[in-house]
């Protein structure tokens, strides 16, 4: 079954490559090159998600992603700004080839270090020769905490001795891969949908190693530099890949809304969302925050571009 699915995906990709032509024919019958649409998104990041946008070749994109504590305590801790539990990720992404970038990052929560890659296979073109943008994103992250942190909780359950006897480096690894399809419908509206696969090498007995997620996000431009942005990530309940008999610990969806301001080299996004993890696999696998209980976080992203 797995092989068949992979084969179908591969076939789809190959067939799209074969049919994709970047030449459009105008009303007079003259052939001209159909160019990619201008900035469907301002940055490679959209709240906690990735966009199909990859900057120009030899551009370095630095990002600071931050979430504060939960807003549950209201003004007593200034809606989470003074609260403990803040998370931060520092990342660098470099565009090596046209539409292909490599990145690295470090995240405070679980002392994660990650390496990632993104490839925009197709860009949407202005005359709809190719009506959508398609991108692949993948990362591998290393949980850098002391082994004692794995004795209980989400990542691994076991006695002290069992853990120290059997713990190996691969137990620290987690993976996230996503297929993103996006379309700029108008200058003011860009939307994306994605499907992802998350895998943790080592989890506690009450959790699954694998999760499939769906993602939906976009921006509504309200001024030349300002946009309303949103992101929704939903982990799916798929019995076939679950190791549990009941859905007792199934993660909750992440819903976030925010506002983006962009300039020539910066994008600044401020938002409120339910997931505090800044790695996509963290949100898909572990998010238990429920917005109906005010388990929301204020967060922001700042990106900066340097061209070389």
């Amino acid at each position: 079954m797995k092989k068949n699915t992979l084969f179908i995906i591969l076939l789809f990709l190959i067939s799209t490559v074969s049919f994709a032509q970047d030449v459009a024919v105008d009303s007079t019958g003259v052939k001209e090159k159909d160019k990619p649409v201008r900035s469907p998104f301002e940055s490679g990041y959209l709240i906690g998600a990735q966009t199909t946008v990859i900057q120009n070749v030899n551009t370095l994109e630095a990002v600071i992603q931050h979430t504060f504590g939960t807003i549950q305590n209201g003004h007593s801790d200034l809606w989470g700004i003074y609260a403990p539990g803040a998370n931060i990720r520092l990342g660098l992404d470099y565009v090596l080839f046209k539409n292909f970038q490599l990145g690295v990052g470090i995240t405070k929560k679980n002392m994660m270090s990650d390496m990632n890659a993104k490839w925009t296979i197709f860009q949407q073109t202005r005359k709809n020769t190719f009506p959508v943008a398609i991108a692949l994103y993948g990362n591998v992250a290393i949980d850098g905490r002391n082994i004692s942190a794995f004795e209980s909780g989400q990542v691994r359950v076991g006695t002290h001795q069992q853990l120290y006897n059997s713990f190996k480096f691969p137990d620290r690894l987690s993976y996230f891969s996503e297929l993103i399809i996006g379309r700029k419908f108008a200058d003011w509206l860009s939307l994306q949908a994605g499907v992802s696969f998350t895998h943790y090498n080592s989890v506690g007995v009450l959790y699954d190693h694998d999760k499939v997620g769906v993602h939906f996000n976009g921006r509504i431009k309200v001024s030349p530099q300002g946009s309303i942005i949103f992101n929704y990530d939903a982990p799916l309940k798929i019995k076939e890949i679950s190791e549990q008999l009941e859905w007792t610990n199934h993660p909750k969806p992440n819903l976030a809304f925010g506002y983006e301001i962009s300039t020539s080299t910066h994008a600044f996004q401020i938002y409120m969302g339910t997931a505090d993890g800044l790695m996509p696999q963290d949100n898909i696998m572990w998010n238990q925050n429920d917005y109906t209980k005010h388990e929301l976080f204020i967060g922001f992203n700042i990106t900066r571009l340097w061209g070389f």
């Binding site: 160019k35 201008r38 120009n56 200058d187 030349p224 530099q225 962009s262 300039t263 020539s264 080299t265 571009l305 061209g307």
Partner: protein, 139 residues
């Protein structure tokens, strides 16, 4: 102890006085830019986007993203970052500026001096010409 405090107070007075006096000597005004030396091929360069219109407001949107923070929303050279530059920005509304050819404006906007980084930031030539066309509307 009393002597130490006296010395400390003396030092602070000397430093503060120096800072105040230095502020009169240090240049406070932005300098006017040197005249541009524009190659002949740019002076006579034809604007391929002239008269084509801009129904998608590409020039305006790109101006807002890349230029507005220094040049200001109506091109008066009074954007929020203008004051921190070494060189005073001239207004796009100035008659002498608008009297230049499109190629001359293109050269000053994307090719030479501090502006040349924008040629990389705005890789498509048609987008750069769209900005030139938009600057033309800021009379």
């Amino acid at each position: 102890m009393k002597r130490t405090l006296k010395n400390l107070f003396g030092s602070v007075v000397v430093i503060m006085t120096s800072v105040v006096l230095f502020s009169f000597v240090a240049p406070q005004d932005q300098k006017a830019g040197e005249p541009w030396v524009i190659p002949a091929n740019y002076k006579s360069m034809v604007n391929p986007q002239k008269g084509k219109g801009d129904p998608d407001n590409v020039g305006k949107l790109l101006y807002a993203k890349h230029c507005k923070s220094c040049h200001g929303s109506i091109g008066a050279g009074d954007g929020p970052k203008a004051g921190s530059l070494d060189t005073k920005i001239k207004s796009f509304k100035d008659g002498k500026f608008q009297a230049q050819s499109d190629g001359e404006i293109y050269f000053q906007s994307f090719v030479d001096r501090d502006m040349k980084s924008f040629e990389k930031k705005i890789p498509a030539a048609e987008d750069r010409w769209a900005i030139v066309n938009y600057i033309r509307t800021l009379k």
